[in-house]
Amino acid sequence: MPLGNYLTVGAVLFVLGAIGFLTRRNLIVLFLSVEMMLQGVALNLVAFARDRGNLHGQVFTLFILTVAACEAAVALALILMLYRERRSLDVSLWQDLREAGQDGTVDTEPLPPPPVEVPSPTLVPTGRVPVRANEESYV
């Protein structure tokens, strides 16, 4: 398989992650998109390592793995703290941090009403309550 094919797949994953990062408003999905960008880069590095016949690309990918793990720990801790403040994972709630002079995001379309949960039918209990023998254990 020529090298260009693997680089193509890496580029596609990277751009998918970039689009997800720019578009979504849920903090968790935002961070998952960042991780997908890292996966695309890792594939690039491993493909180059195979093309060259040495392991430098794979060593670099190991370090990417390490740094991604650290980043995930710290980022998830921050996400938990942000959730504690506002009780929501929406990134638009923190719009005050945006650049001066930028318009904030205003939601114009209303959300559809949540689907009504039909409760499961319950039966009125009838009949006598059965008498249980007084056993030591029911196991």
Binding site: M1, P2, G4, N5, Y6, L7, V9, A11, V12, L13, V15, L16, G17, A18, I19, T23, R24, R25, N26, L27, I28, V29, F31, L32, E35, M36, Q39, A42, V46, A47, A49, R50, R52, G53, L55, H56, Q58, V59, T61, L62, F63, L65, T66, V67, A69, C70, A72, L76, A77, I79, L80, M81, Y83, R87, S88, L89, D90, D107, E109, P112
Partner: protein, 358 residues
Amino acid sequence: MRDGLVKNTEQNTGMLLADLDSAVLHSLGPMALAVGLGMAALYVLLPRPKMMPRLLGAALGAAALVAGAAWLTTLGGSRVESILFYSFSGMAILSGAVMITQRIPARAALAFAIVVLSMCGLFLLNAAPFLMAGTIIVYAGAIIVTFLFVIMLAQPEGYSDADARSREPLLAVIGGFFLLCTLLFVVRQTYDTADLDGVLVKVEAARTQTSAEAVRQVLGDPKDFEDQVERGLARLIDRSAAKTSAQSAFDALVASLNKDDINLLHKRLDELHEAGLQARLAVGRLQPAEPTKLSPFAGTPANRAPQPMSAENVAGLGRALFSDYLLAVELGGTLLLVATIGAIAITHRAGAGRRAAL
């Protein structure tokens, strides 16, 4: 000096534009079609309060995947490798698209797990078994599980703003289209082997001929053949082993073309075929200058011809990590320690003994 520089730049730009010959420009059309279909699928599928029909998005996405697979070159590599490559890549891209368009974050995390598993398959195809195992253990086994825990702890009630809306889907998709087209065009431009493949096909056809006249006929106009060989070798580094051996094989073939010795011609054609195959592998490769001293501990240094990778992947990684990258390993360990302490410190709340109710 300044005039010379300006003239040189104009000359170089002229040469670059002439390089964009019709063969590469022809590949732009199918690529833009595949990327455009994919971006249209993403635009349809990105979450909105009132969504477009998902079936349309799925159909556009499937069409994009098929168009993309048709655009990739399939020369080189065995059939098993091709099947595995296409299935793993298709699964990875599909799950990636599912991940960024899912409304429910838990499903997005599971789609990301499938992305990681597909990438591990691709790592295995690239002779990285330790990375495959390590990625599954660390990414799919630790990072994604942590994500799922956080999703469980930080669940908003009901249908939330965060999940059902996207920011600027149209602009993001348009920007993504241009970015991806640029990246793919650069990859294709650098690693394109169409000219060399044409040369190799001609050489193989000439090899089967039995008379010198037939060989000359198959090879066609010598000037055109020479142009094709030059275009094919243009993307190799000057004075590298692959380019010089291919050029000398071609010169030897040209020298023997006018003689009528068919055995000699066959020998020269074989040499050119061999050199052409080696050159094909080296297209687009950048490497440091030959005399640079590079470390031999991680496999072939970058300025030598690449040898196949050793099957002892873990031993090789260990040798590379603890000789070339020792400082980085120590720093990585420190980073992990600091990150662990930092994550605990960020979420720690004063008042031990009180349950950390969120």
